[in-house]
Symmetry: C2
Subunit: 201 residues, 2 copies
């Protein structure tokens, strides 16, 4: 078995555990039991939990970068498709195994993270909000989205809402995530009724 196979498996299981239970909610033993090895074997690949945690976030950042590259190739300049691609990240976690977006989990226990993990968490958050800012600005310029204020502020709001949506969905029903997504899109729509609309689209 190649080194990277086990190392990758460890990262995969650790990521699932993190997104399910939080950073303080899983241990090396949890991971090793999933893989049918002993916890000492996990320490061989990642000497400390901080090493493991930092590697996990770095991998999340790489995965995000790849996803962005993929989307930009496939949906060049199509702001609505790009936004859907952004929203697909937390949605796919929720639908696959009821996991919540890693960024949210990490931010939730930010104060108890080792500093190298704090740094990577800040970086991941910045990466995601920066890209969302670009999408929103693009959509506004192309008259696909309507909103007032700086695109940066709107991106901050939307990303905060998606994070919160993951959490709320986890406590009740994944349908609540979709409800919030629908509202985000309604708020971004160009043609807004001035009359009151209290029924669903």
């Amino acid at each position: 078995m190649k080194d990277n196979d086990t190392k990758d498996k460890i990262l995969n299981h650790a990521a699932s555990l993190l997104q399910d239970r939080g950073y303080n909610g899983f241990s090396y033993t949890h991971i090793s039991e999933c893989l049918g090895i002993k916890n000492a074997a996990v320490h061989y690949h990642f000497p400390t939990k901080s090493d493991l945690g930092t590697a996990m976030i770095q991998r999340f950042r790489e995965q995000f970068k790849s996803w962005v590259a993929h989307l930009e190739t496939k949906y060049n300049q199509q702001a609505d498709k790009l936004l859907d691609g952004f929203i697909a990240i937390p949605r796919s976690y929720l639908n696959k195994e009821n996991l919540i977006c890693p960024l949210g989990v990490l931010e939730a226990s930010f104060n108890v993270l080792p500093s190298s993990m704090q740094k990577e968490t800040q970086g991941l958050g910045q990466d995601m909000r920066d890209w969302l800012t670009q999408i929103l600005e693009l959509g506004r310029q192309h008259h696909m989205f309507h909103f007032v204020g700086p695109a940066e502020d709107k991106a901050l709001l939307v990303s905060a809402a998606l994070q919160g949506a993951s959490f709320i969905a986890g406590t009740k029903s994944n349908e609540l995530f979709e409800t919030i997504v629908r509202q985000i899109k309604r708020d971004l729509a160009i043609h807004q009724d001035t009359s009151k609309r209290t029924t669903k689209d």
Copy 2:
């Protein structure tokens, strides 16, 4: 010393620890050391951590109820003031001791909570979103707020955004919380420019 004095002190410190470090991030020893007593004394008041946790959330719910009653007396039917009162809850936590809103912390580790805490967490979330729904519907009827779609959906979005805002602020700067609040209010404002506005209000 009356029973309730120590019991209240325990709940106060436990709440701060929870909002700072998450449910799995503090122990009975943390609490007892804050109070200058031994951890066994904490067990006298709350036999298990689940008992303590459940009592904490029940108290959050009572505090929220009181706050709502206070606001409704002071700002009867003034939707904008009531919304400010709602937003003041997470804001005051952030500004006082860099704490995050208890609901968000609890939702973030929902899967590892004892079931009695899960039930209370769901209740607290429902309480808050229900009241926000009322405020938004009232504001729309009084032509103070503009938004499309059901008030319930908009309330879900705003509460998710405020939760996320607390988290993001905790990783960077409390100013980000205010940025998100400004954007929420821009999006609710009646008179929206159709022209692009990229500068701050």
